[in-house]
């Protein structure tokens, strides 16, 4: 089935008139309020994947005992049903259940149940994004809470954040969990521009319309509105459907300048210059011809079906003084906006950061090498930029020595997968973290790394194909992301309480609270 072009167009332009609004945004457009409430939102496929599988043999008499005893909701026999439903495997906590009194396998009067490891799980993920991490991200997006019996804190890459652990003190100073402050200020320049405070030390990274679907983009924006954080347009224009979330959008100005107009710069509170991406420094951007559908091409005002290149670097910026002029330009267009400068992590990243600060940036955004989706070439992802954990510490220390650390906000990205990664990055010296892949996983990404090919994502996340993008609804996407962030905040608060710290700000630069896993110090 191919949808007529007008149908896909409708998805794009259909303006959601906000029912509940918090007043006008910078652009004068009514801003929608999105409720910050966790609601369970199941996987959009009928049988969600779990780490384990429960097999029910034909011996089952449908007595309903399993449904009665399972506190996880794996077995369900609805009122009036003669049969027990197919087990919801993904809720099962696995073999450790055997130690409890409600282990269905043992309790089944007919021994009709068998617990197995799901073989599909072994085919999924990679050491950085392990199957456990993918499943636990799904779990958080579904329930709003961290899973039990899934390793949701770190991956198994043997490097980076996976080698860092917090050293939780045995008796931390008492902290009231309800009073823990997870907000951060993004404007520390005291230059007369407005204060911008976000409720979590996290916001969403730039993904263009073209690289991902409109539901993905708007879902990200709505979740950002709910949590009073930000999402970013990426370099593909500012679809009209984002207007109700202007106050929570970042307009990205990248080297192709696609979709960048005065109008899109003036309506937002933060403008981000993308100089480079940590996943592919020096390579610019590249949208393959297949993903450049007529709708995408219209948004970028380019020719459909042709690959679209964002050059490297900005043709108008070959020096730090050009860079300052570039920032001055954006500030001239929008006198109220903050300016963020996104750079990758070369060996002299510290100098780049200081140069950006003196050029007038409010936010320095370091993008390290672990990030990037399927569209970034492996050779680049794995070999060019400096791992982010090195870059954070290097830049933080340099800014401190320069005496300007408290006048600039340091945001980092590139492989922050979990709430623990976020907290580690902050302990190393960042103020906050930008996430990308974690949001995609919350929407059902399986990390197949086919983002760029053909019509794009088989799960309809990173695709503008009119058929594929209908694989999820906007409300579903929004709620999954709200839930994920809620689960992350719970974990952040929990960690801060265990560390005896009243706020995420107090954690910044406390690398003394981390230790490195090596031969001398293994995991407890």
């Amino acid at each position: 089935m191919t949808l007529p072009a007008s149908a896909s167009e409708a998805i794009l332009t259909q303006d959601l008139e906000p029912t509940d609004s918090e007043g006008l945004g910078l652009s004068g457009h009514l801003q929608e309020t999105v409720e910050r409430t966790v609601r369970p939102v199941p996987d959009r496929y009928r049988n969600a994947m779990g780490k384990y599988q429960l097999r029910r043999s034909t011996d089952c008499q449908n007595c309903g005992n399993c449904a009665a005893i399972c506190p996880e909701g794996v077995h369900v026999k609805p009122e009036g049903y003669a049969y027990v439903l197919r087990p919801k495997d993904h809720l099962c906590i696995g073999p450790s259940c055997a130690e409890t009194s409600h282990y269905c396998v043992d309790e089944c009067p007919k021994q009709a149940l068998q617990l197995l490891r799901n073989p599909s799980v072994d085919c999924m993920g990679d050491p950085r994004w392990t199957a456990d991490l993918i499943l636990s991200t799904w779990h958080m997006a579904e329930t709003g809470h961290a899973p039990r019996n899934l390793e949701h804190r770190h991956g198994a890459s043997g490097g980076g954040f996976d080698r860092l652990r917090f050293d939780f003190p045995e008796s931390p100073s008492p902290i009231d969990p309800d009073a823990v402050d997870t907000s951060i200020e993004l404007n520390r320049r005291s230059d007369g521009r407005p204060s911008v405070r976000i409720d979590l030390p996290v916001y969403g990274g730039g993904m263009s319309f073209g690289s991902v679907s409109i539901h993905t983009i708007v879902g990200k924006a709505r979740a950002a509105a709910a949590w009073n954080i930000f999402s970013c347009t990426g370099e593909g224009g500012f679809p009209d459907r984002l207007k109700p979330y202007d106050d929570h959008m970042i307009t990205q100005v990248a080297t192709g300048l696609f979709g960048v107009r005065e109008d899109t710069i003036q309506r937002v509170r933060i403008v981000e210059f993308k100089y480079a991406q940590g996943a592919k420094p020096g390579l610019g951007g590249h949208l393959l011809g297949d993903k450049n559908t007529p709708a995408v091409a219209r948004m970028r005002e380019a020719v459909a079906g042709n690959a679209l290149f964002s050059p490297f670097p900005f043709h108008s910026v070959y020096s730090v003084e050009d860079h300052k002029k570039h920032l001055d330009w954006i500030k001239q267009i929008n006198p109220r906006t903050l300016v963020s400068v996104k750079v990758s992590t070369p060996t002299d990243v510290d100098m780049v950061a200081v140069g950006s600060y003196y050029a007038g940036a409010h936010i320095i955004h370091l993008d390290g090498s672990y990030g990037g989706t399927g569209a970034a070439p492996d050779i680049a992802k794995k070999n060019i930029a400096m791992p982010i954990e090195y870059a954070i510490a290097k830049v933080h220390k340099f800014l401190v020595a320069e005496g300007i650390r408290d006048s600039v906000t340091l945001i980092v990205s590139g492989g922050a997968r979990t709430a623990h990664d976020v907290m580690k990055a902050i302990a190393l010296g960042a103020d906050g973290v930008v996430i990308g892949t974690a949001e995609m996983v919350a929407l059902g990404c399986v990390r197949c790394a086919c983002c760029e090919s053909g019509r794009g994502c088989p799960r309809g996340i990173a695709s503008t194909d009119p058929e594929l993008m209908r694989l999820m609804t906007l409300d579903w996407a929004t709620q999954r992301l709200i839930n994920l962030l809620s689960a992350w905040r719970e974990q952040m608060v929990d960690m801060l309480v265990r560390l005896g710290l009243p706020s995420v700000q107090a954690l910044r630069g406390r690398s003394d609270l981390l230790y490195y896993l090596d031969d001398e110090r293994a995991e407890p």
């Binding site: 042709n306 690959a307 020096s319 003084e321 330009w329 267009i333």
Partner: protein
Amino acid sequence: MSHHVERLLSTRSNVYRDGPNAETSKAAEEGGCGVTGFACTVPVGGKFIYEPSVQMQNRGNGKGGGIAASGLVPEQLGIDQATLDSHYLLQIALLDPNAHKEVERDHVLPYFDIATSTRQPHIADHRDIAGLDVRPPDIQRYAVRVKPDVLAKFASENGLSGMSERALEDEFVWRNSFKLNDAFYASLGEKRAFVLSHARDLLVFKMVGYAEQNVQYYQLEDFKAHVWIAHQRYPTKGRVWHPGGAHPFVGVNEALVHNGDFANYHSVSEYLRQRNIRQQFLTDTEVSVQLFDLWDRVYGYPLEYIIEALAPTTELDFDQLPPEKQRIYRQIQATHIHASPDGPWFFIIARSQKEQGRLQLLGITDTAMLRPQVFALSDSGEVQIGLICSEKQAIDATLRSLSREDPRFCATADKYWNARGGSSSDGGAFIFTVAGENGSKRLTCADKFGRPVKVEVAGVRCDVAHPESIPELTTDVEEWLRSGNSNAVFHHVVKHIDGWPAGALRDFCNRVLEAARTPKVMPTAIEAMTLLYDRRYDTGSKRRSTVLQVIDDTLCALFDACPTCGQPGEGQYRRIDWDSRHQILAPAPSERVLIIDAARFPPEGDECDACYQRSAFELGWRRFIVYRLRGQRFTGVGLGPATDGVRFDTYGSSGDYLASGMDGEEIFVHGNAQDQVGQIAKRGKLVIHGDVGQTFMYGAKGADVFVLGNAAGRPLINAVGRPRVVINGTCLDFLAESFMAGEPTEGGGFVILNGIEFDSKGQLVPLAAPYPGSNLFSLASGGAIYIRDPHRRVVEQQLNGGVFSAITDRDWRLIRTYLEENERHFGIKIDDLLTSEGRRLAPEQVYRKVHAVKLAVLAAATEKKS
């Protein structure tokens, strides 16, 4: 390599401290910076390098600024001409004043015969100069020759006997300074002293501050020289800076300033280390001058080959060289490519060539032309001056300040141009040479290949102070003005100016000013003067640059005559300037145009004139005239999308990022425009009565644009949507790379490139090549270029993805509309465009279309398979 060269390089080991030849990495990152320089037939004071330096302050951050002067006045140094000609001026910066005795004991007294030893005067307290936080070094200057016995010993010890005395002495001086720097600078944590310069007839000053602060601190306002260069530095590493890292850097008899950043510093320094040349200050600029010194003084290469080694000729340009040159260049490239700086760079070099009896000022740009650069030449008949600069407005500032104090100078240059890096046409470099006896010095200008650059020097100056009455003038002028006939006024001047006496134009203009006291006449007066300023016409016996100067003065006087907000006055004009900027009021019903005197407004930031334009726009003003622009940026920026009916007219040196983001408004630039103009432009109209700088309309989405002259490098890169642009001149290179602007005949975008210029008589003449660059329309997927090329000079090789095709009727109907408007703006007749060598041709014989074809590398996979 000759025996001497080899010996000379190898025995430099004698000055290196023991220890391995350590690998070096750059000590500091620095960015673009601002560079400027000029060479003049008469010596002028340091205050004239002060002006352009101030203009370019925003290209530095006050963490390093320096100047160099060459062609000095002996009396001001307390020596005679013979001593100035023969002696080295050893100029030592004493960061630690107590180091003086040691430096002198160890590095001066034992080796040199000293003619004079003086301390450079300076103002008592550096803090009296606003913003100068770090105390500049004391400077001790010696005029010296190497003692004959020392030199003889040096020759024999190093096996260099037989080299010419001067070459030996140069090398001795170089090595002695290296040792001094090593002992008192490079090896120390606490820097104590270093050699600023050690040339004949050339001095360098530098400090942790802005370039112009050297002039103030060392009291050089009236210190005269024929050649001046200056540099604003923008270093970004660390909190502690030393003046040693500031530019200029010296070889022996040259000083070099640099704007840019090398990606291959390591490779270049490795090349130098293989030739036994080590680094002390660890900056790009130091290795640059080391390369120059190596190729010039040690290898004895001609200047052309040095420039080729720095900026290799490539692509189509290489193919266009004569075979003999290709053979030589190929060898130069093969030998020295690792030393060729990679990345954006632009050098300005001042050199004193005493043996040849001349001074030189060089500007060299990189092959990819990644840094802005403007050259200018002015010849008033009495004095000649050549200028090189990052920005045109700094050139204008220099000339303005010179002409203010010395009427022999003209405030406007006769010729402004850009170099095309690594090209076969000019080689990307120009050299100004001042030679001849004192009092009768002449300035010549030539490109890399030695081809002279000339300006029309004949003609009467009409920028005289005293008006002379005009014989034929009746009261017509006032009548024309009253009746709104600006064209009649324009044509009257064009017709008669040839026969007028020198002061007549002044008189004419004064009458216009007089008539414009009547508010109703003002719009026509402005219109007429603007026409006279914009259009190219035969100025007959009068020097064009001086005609323009008088017209410009008159326009300023007309604008000045308009009442400021709050002043009593009638008419449709209101004016604000820096002092009255807070008094902007909403326009009264009769008031239509807000005139902004941009002088004294900062070029950017919260107090720049563009901010006041925006507040005026919010108050209801829709028409703006901005004049006395001195490089102020962002004109027409930030007004947002609903700007239909808004119009700007700019006079003076408009700044970077003009019209960047325009969405509906109309902007008319009277004169040249600068860099980054029209970026992301969406809708509206932009008319530039002159040239435009780098990355013009980068990422543009639309707008109708007309450029009278040339665009520099990279115009219309990544443009999408429907930008429609007429460029009457040409571009340096990379026009419309990755152009994605749909189908021109179906509402998409295009560029019409006419490849013409005006001769001194105001007649259209075709350029030698309508498009000289090697890259046209590369990787484009939409839009088209319509190029005027009756002789089919543009070849396939220049395209990278596009194809030629004949223009159709549909194409012609489309572009004719734009050429008609082009005619209205600039007076360039379609008939003239369609005429080649006296023959009127059909459109398809004159214009060619370059359009996109589907490239395999760009196409969708599904299409590739089919």
